[in-house]
């Protein structure tokens, strides 16, 4: 079989220039290190008040202009389907959005395999109720700048009738830039063609901008279908918002059950993810951690699996090999480039502690809210959830699921390929439980202004 055939239609190979001044900063700006921020969820009870809010807030929403060197504090505004409706977007335009976006994340639970402990019936309020209309996110590299951005936003939504604050969630990096299970995260991001910055070593081939931003050619050579009108869609994108609760006690109990020394436990923790907690990939540091490698962006992602085709370094079922199989020989015909998402992980709650092993430690509010960004987020998330996260057949590990974000069945296992015989760990549980989720549209700056002026 040829590795990749030419598409059936003549396509332009010239990448169009991205309109950075239109694209929201959240799409291209990486998370600062360390990072501080907040998500605020709003409900629009009156269309006019909602549009007036958009008109007031839009001047403060940052674009991707000079994104790689810009000051590290920015605000993003995203709108759900029910939000677009509440703002008075005409029916014809509403209907032009993809079905999964229109019905919302909770209604797609079957396609997303959000069942059992992840069932939308068990989500925190107000997720999945249709009440979340607008999401405002502030990111910054210091607590002080975050407070400044938040104060600006708050001035525009607080105290106005017709806009209700449903809730907010502070987030921030934990010591050493770790997440709530103690790992350095957010390392491997897709490299976007036309973004104007050379990819980091190992970031993989440049992926067409149209996979991530509406109005540009995607990997198939054409733009993914856009909602209408053009002004609303172009330079916009979608966000899948997922709130996870980390069951730190269960995770630590699992590590302790299988590792009698700290070194053994750390190796198991690394095998589950494919990286040591420091961020150092097992493919480059298979036997002992290398923290200097972990923190070095020029080296910590610079690998493929050509010399690990048996999974003896990074197990086939580990988290990072599932989420980006790179050159792994998959059992199904797959184009790895079309299933990637930009992700902005935002950790909340107290830092990881390896000594917390009680069931009470499982319910301490801590975890991560992920923002998954793509021009086809809904379809990609359904693919990832059903194929790469909650199944193992694609990579030859049968019914095994992603050990970090999978929804585990009773009796779940995790296989570590090894010479002479593999090691199989029993007692894998759902270590990160889904507590809520929403789909948002992330309009361009022109589209935000257009929405603000709907109805004259």
């Amino acid at each position: 079989m040829p590795v990749k055939e030419a598409a059936g239609e003549a396509v332009s190979t010239q990448a169009p220039a991205l309109e950075f001044h239109e694209i929201q900063a959240l799409v291209l700006r990486p998370r600062p290190a360390p990072y501080f921020g907040i998500h605020v969820l709003l409900r629009v009870d009156d269309a006019q008040a909602g549009r007036a809010f958009l008109r007031r807030i839009t001047p403060y929403v940052d674009s991707s202009e000079n994104w790689s060197t810009a000051n590290n504090a920015w605000m993003a505004v995203a709108i759900s389907y029910t939000g677009l409706k509440a703002l008075g977007l005409p029916q014809e335009s509403l209907q032009s959005f993809p079905e999964a976006f229109r019905v919302g994340m909770a209604a797609r639970a079957r396609e997303l395999r959000d069942d059992g402990v992840n069932d939308p019936k068990r989500w925190d309020q107000p997720y999945g109720t249709g009440q979340v209309h607008i999401g405002v996110t502030a990111f910054s590299d210091s607590e002080e700048k975050k407070r400044h951005v938040l104060a600006i936003a708050r001035k525009e939504y607080e105290g106005f009738s017709g806009i209700k604050v449903l809730g907010s969630q502070d987030f921030g990096a934990q010591p050493g830039d770790r997440n709530s299970l103690g790992y350095k995260d957010g390392i491997d991001q897709p490299a976007i063609e036309g973004s104007g910055v050379a990819p980091l070593p190992g970031q993989g081939p440049l992926i067409k901008a149209g996979e991530f931003i509406l109005g540009y050619p995607g990997e198939a050579g054409i733009s993914v279908p856009m909602p209408q009108p053009d002004i609303l869609a172009r330079n916009g994108t979608y966000i899948g918002f997922r709130k996870y609760q980390s069951r730190v006690g269960a995770f630590n109990r699992f590590l302790q059950a299988h590792g009698s020394t700290e070194a053994e436990r750390e190796l198991i923790a690394a095998k589950l993810v494919g990286r040591w907690r420091s961020g150092a990939p097992l493919t480059l540091a298979p036997d002992v951690d290398n923290p200097a490698l972990g923190v070095d962006p020029q080296r910590n992602n610079d690998f493929n699996y050509a010399n690990d085709q048996h999974g003896r370094q990074a197990p086939f079922g580990c988290h990072i090999r599932r989420m980006n199989p790179r050159d792994t020989n998959l059992t199904r015909l797959t184009d790895v480039n079309i299933h990637r998402l930009i992700r902005r992980g935002t950790t909340y709650g107290p830092p990881y502690d390896e000594n917390q092993v009680s069931e009470q430690d499982d319910v301490v509010p801590r975890g991560a809210i992920f923002l998954f960004i793509s021009a086809k987020t809904m379809g990609t998330m359904e693919f990832l959830q059903s194929e790469w996260i909650n199944d193992g057949n694609f990579i030859g590990v049968g019914d095994e699921r992603d050990p970090i974000i999978g929804r585990q069945e009773e009796g779940a296992v995790f296989t570590i390929p090894k010479e002479p015989v593999r090691r199989r760990l029993h007692g894998i549980e759902t270590f990160n439980v889904l507590k809520g989720g929403e789909y948002f549209f992330l309009p361009s700056l022109s589209a935000l202004r257009w929405l603000g002026n709907l109805g004259g």
Binding site: M1, E5, E9, A220, P225, L333, I338, S386, G396
Partner: protein, 208 residues
């Protein structure tokens, strides 16, 4: 496309074996004598089947599934000359379907020309859902797909994968029933077991 009686009238509530038997007796009340006799004489095996847990599931948006294996059945209307081209192509391929090998999830495919070469009945067994992978087909094997599907009316082309998936689903007719011999073995697992089995035989040869 073919018209189909939607298999929707499935009993929702769980029936007891006796209730199911009673229903079958009612259905066969006006059957030919041969059928009535078969029901009476075959009662033992039928009772066992009715007592077992139901295995039928649905595959993706349409189609039946058992365990990991799904069925896809479509009636596709040929464009003018399409039947001749496809028959010629299939004959010259002589059973070599490298694209299907590459897909990795296809268990079997049958191409049946019906209604005086105006339609193709295409039936296949495959692992999981195909919908999530339609864009992968579009990216990896668009020509292999277009080469045979371009012989049918309304096929939009693999350069528009979502439309192609919708077109297939539009022509799909769900099987009323679906039986799979090894419902828990995917194509990939079957090939793996073949390799393992061969290795074990070689090992035994060396010992013996």
């Amino acid at each position: 496309m073919a018209t189909q009686t939607v298999p929707a009238n499935r009993p929702k509530q769980a029936l007891t074996v006796d209730e199911k038997l009673q229903k079958i007796r009612e259905l066969y009340a006006d059957a030919p004598e041969l059928g009535k006799a078969a029901l009476k004489n075959g009662l033992a095996m039928l009772t066992q089947e009715l007592a077992a847990a139901g295995l039928a599931e649905t595959a993706g948006r349409i189609g039946a599934r058992q365990g990991k294996v799904s069925e896809l059945t479509v009636f596709l209307p040929f464009v003018k000359g399409g039947a001749k081209r496809l028959r010629g192509l299939l004959q010259l391929l002589e059973g070599n379907f490298k694209a299907a090998d590459a897909v990795g999830t296809v268990h079997d495919m049958r191409f049946v020309f019906v209604d005086n070469d105006t339609k193709l009945l295409f039936a296949t067994a495959y692992d999981g859902d195909f919908d999530p992978y339609i864009e992968d087909f579009a990216s990896k094997i668009p020509n292999a797909m277009d080469l045979w599907l371009s012989n049918f009316e309304g096929y939009p082309g693999m350069h528009n994968p979502r439309a192609a998936a919708d077109w297939i689903a539009k022509h799909q007719i769900a099987a009323e029933a679906w039986y799979v011999n090894s419902p828990n073995l995917t194509g990939a697992e079957t090939r793996k077991l073949e390799r393992v089995g061969k290795a074990v035989e070689e090992l035994l040869d060396q010992i013996g």
